[in-house]
Symmetry: D2
């Protein structure tokens, strides 16, 4: 924390701020400038909320300095984390050299639908299957997912096609079931700061795919991962899925620059969801290529064999032929970066 004093702050005001800092068990470092004095503070390990100094007489501003996260930080662990997902057809790595493809429908609608799509997902070469059994929907009157029967269908997909399963837990109740059936537990954007759910999933033994909240800053995103890791689950996969801005031609604005930003600060892998990130089918391929080109560790994409009959998100789902095209293009771009699809 740095306290910037007003230009006209008196010696006494400066001293008084320093004394308050010292009284909190911290160390104050006044830096007299030509225009004004700033006071650096050291010794704070996060326990003291220093914002209040801003209300003291003569103080112009308080500027936070230290980043609050620890376990997610590259300063604590320099090498990239590689999350290993066991599937019936062998381990799939997320992070590191390989690029992971997760594909499947927004929601599991029926065994027929799930199998039809899984068959095409497998044929396209992806090894992880996504599909929601519990769907957070803006309206209480929209399709809310099949619940546990949906999870059972996913278990059949797993067995039949050898695909690893990625599916969302919406609350503590669904988490218990999801943990039983899934290979990767997804926490959705709307739950990124559902701290009880984060703590609970921190006790799970399975990897967690954590989506960025709609208006989460990078620090908030990393702090949400910190919540999970602080409980002991270190297998966290971050996922950018677009943020909310004034821009109105896409459902969300995909923030591609977060990829190098995460890589600089954290050792965790980061995926991109170009389906929610754009909300429009014809933008999924270009943005998938862009994400991999920028250094993403993989993609999670919505695919539907009959998107105009989908019960949710049909507008942003690609068809299986497009998935094959996508895989081909992404593979070629991965090669440019000396990476490969796994």
């Amino acid at each position: 924390m740095l306290v910037v004093m007003q230009a006209h702050a008196t010696e006494e005001q400066i001293r008084s701020v320093c004394e308050r800092i010292e009284s909190l068990g911290l160390k104050a470092h006044p830096i007299p400038g030509s225009l004004r004095t700033a006071i650096g503070i050291t010794g704070n390990r996060g326990a003291v909320d220093l914002g209040v100094l801003e209300s003291m007489v003569g103080v112009a501003e308080c500027i936070p300095v230290s980043k609050p996260y620890k376990l997610v930080s590259r300063e604590v662990k320099e090498e990239d984390t590689v999350v290993r997902v066991p599937t019936p057809s062998g381990e799939v790595s997320i992070g590191g050299e390989a690029i992971a493809m997760i594909a499947g429908p927004c929601a599991v609608e029926s065994r027929e639908q799930a199998f039809a799509i899984a068959e095409r997902v497998k044929r396209a070469g992806a090894r992880l299957f996504r599909g929601g059994a519990y769907k957070p929907r803006t309206s209480p009157y929209s399709f809310q997912g099949l619940g546990e029967p949906g999870l059972q269908i996913l278990a059949e997909v797993r067995e039949r096609f050898g695909l690893g399963i990625v599916t969302e837990a919406m609350d503590n109740e669904s988490l218990d079931l999801v943990e039983k059936y899934a290979d990767v537990i997804q926490i959705g954007a709307r739950n990124m700061q559902n701290f009880s759910l984060l703590k609970r999933v921190g006790h799970c033994r399975k990897p967690v795919l954590l989506k960025r909240g709609m208006s989460a800053t990078l620090d908030e995103f990393l702090m949400a991962a910190e919540y999970i890791m602080a409980e002991g689950n270190y297998n966290v996969i971050l996922c950018e899925r677009g943020v909310r801005t004034f821009s109105d031609f896409t459902r969300n604005t995909l923030d591609i620059a977060i990829i190098p930003a995460v890589k600089r600060r954290s050792h965790l892998p980061i995926l991109v969801d170009p389906s929610h990130g754009t909300g429009r089918r014809h933008k999924v391929l270009p943005l998938s290529r862009a994400a991999v080109a920028a250094g993403a560790d993989g993609l999670i994409v919505e695919v539907h064999h009959e998107p105009d009959r989908a019960l949710s998100d049909g507008m942003q789902s690609i068809i299986p032929d497009e998935l094959e095209q996508l895989m081909k293009e992404v593979r070629a771009i991965a090669a440019v970066l000396q990476r490969s699809l796994n």
Copy 2:
């Protein structure tokens, strides 16, 4: 829903879109314009997701028309909802003519702290006391609230000072306890789209204070209220607490214009939280006056007798003397609008 065709769309493409609409059990109304044709759709009661039409050949755009909410809508219930909160010192109305004041600390820290503040809150004339026992914090290492002992302190405040209690439930577990102790159950901004919690609180018999999410549109905000009402709890109080924008001199941007916007579309009362809405003590009074002047049905304000020793949010808490000043000013502005503080 309105489907706008491209300028060059052929007759056949238009016919094909109409047929698809009719095949979904809806009615298509083509409107041939000078440049292009638009197709109105009627008969949709929310069950059909029409976005997929956007992918059909010849379609330029799909524009949603009907608002998806029902129970929250003023079209369904024209007169203002007045939520009645029973307190030891009589009923407090939220909505209608009176303006409600809710004041208290961000978090309950100890009996001494809660009592010291409650005494001043009561003296200032407010009849509802706020204070968190469960605190959603960005960092897992920050103070997370006292839990049930905090609720017990609130119960004592209730009894001793005759104040009604407003406190937050963070998850299903805390909800059970909060429901037991609180007069109004608060759902925080980060949980505005925690749909399981919304459904659960929809079964409670106590009024719910629902805070707007950090980047929630008006429709999403009203739909979150719809979730609660759809389960049978009609006593919902909305609360604007600032949204996330590029603007960096406040913690959030308080969206005062949502007050008349809500009034136009919904019968539910709406409060404003100027403390989170600005994040700075010296902005709380001006924005409190502004909120009431714009037609808010009340305020929820953070007060602390020793803000620079607060365990959370000290920077945005006003001191008891400021609360008295605030009450005085707000009372005078309420009078201009022929309203009074209750």
Copy 3:
């Protein structure tokens, strides 16, 4: 500027950053913390761009500290600036105790229209008349204003009704004419960072009403005023008119909190434009009351006697009867703050 070193930065890296700072003629103040070292910099008067230090090995982040503005700053001039606008019916003050009302149509359309509205504006008690002769329009095919004939109509309004004239200059060419006819020169939101226009208007002898850009931060807004003042024109009136956010139920999000924020940092007066700030007629009155309640020094409001025939912005123009209601309400709220309408 504060340079924050990485946790693992070596002594040599720290020394090397300090040397670079000193080589630029500045002073480095290393502050060794428990986790990492920060380096304060003093002696920089804005000439040196220090962002480049961020690329040095071992540096985690550079944090700007000093505010870059001078003449607009309250640190340089403590008392409020009062801008005096001479009108045929005597001086009107903007800033200080009185609250200024500027009202009139979006665009001057004809002598009849201007006179009809001016008559009602005067009767309502406002002393300044707004009306555009040059209109910045998103589309090249929209009505662009009458140009100089519009200014001549404004001159007639001035003479006939004794109202001071506020009108916009869009470029250097129109500025020469506007300066001749107007009492206050308006610089629109889209031109807030048209630096040549700002410099040019800095040489004018008439007061300038500077509107905040659609996505301008507070610092950028104040720096735009600094451009004008740096050229010698100290009579700058700031104006909040809504910013662009994700929020979609208003045309812009009116950022009421900027009023106390400006008051804290600058001595310049600040008005609010609730017409552009909301884009909807029925929100103009509530937001006008809110602005004055929050401490605004006045309002600039669009009024039209036949808004549904207006050539521009009819949707956000109030009718003369609403203006009278607005004046009445605003006067009552001003009284609560010990202020009066002038």
Copy 4:
């Protein structure tokens, strides 16, 4: 335009809205739905501002339908526009199959600096050189560019290295000079809605590089291009350079999804500026790759041989070695898309 009536609107109110529409010379098409009636409007060619219907009794909302742009629209011209820039070493195409590289310093600082960088830009294989002689700066106290002497240095770079010159005009005065020296005239983000400058550049005979404004919607961006084309200059090159959002780890949020969105609606080429788009050197390469992967027609990149001595934007300038790396990577990604660097 579509007018949506309230659920309770009476037959008479609906008739009254239809009559008003017809009185404006347009045609009304009422569509009675199960819940409410909507009224389609045809025959409007942009001259009538229909927003005012929203204030009529019984009206719930007005929804704009037609896109307002014409000349920029792909509906008017289906094939891609290819802008041909003549340089001393032959024509460079922007748009179409080839990908264009524009590189150079933020500002021309001296002949030595410009030559040193141009030498490396040429060696890296780029054929267009960027460099500002007029710099729009947030602060009046920052370096504002060399002016005409800077243009003369650019002319020497042109002659000596055979590179085409891209440089910014800030106002009508500088435009006259820039037009004389430049091969492509740049209009900066802050001037995207400086409509007089757009009209003026519409009369120039040289291609225009139009940067997206900091908070411009896609429609506003295309309308700004429409302003230029409406005056007769059809050689417009669009350029995404990041938009302003809440996201704080980059200077701007690069909106990569605008590339396919522009391609769908317009025939104009679109470049990306990853330097301003991110504001950080280490993000320039990843985002350059992403832009080309998403289908951008080229890049405009800031390069400096001594970025830590740059007079502006040093923090986001890459060094010449990084430019070579960038060219190599971009070339490989272009090949994946069957494109090549020109």
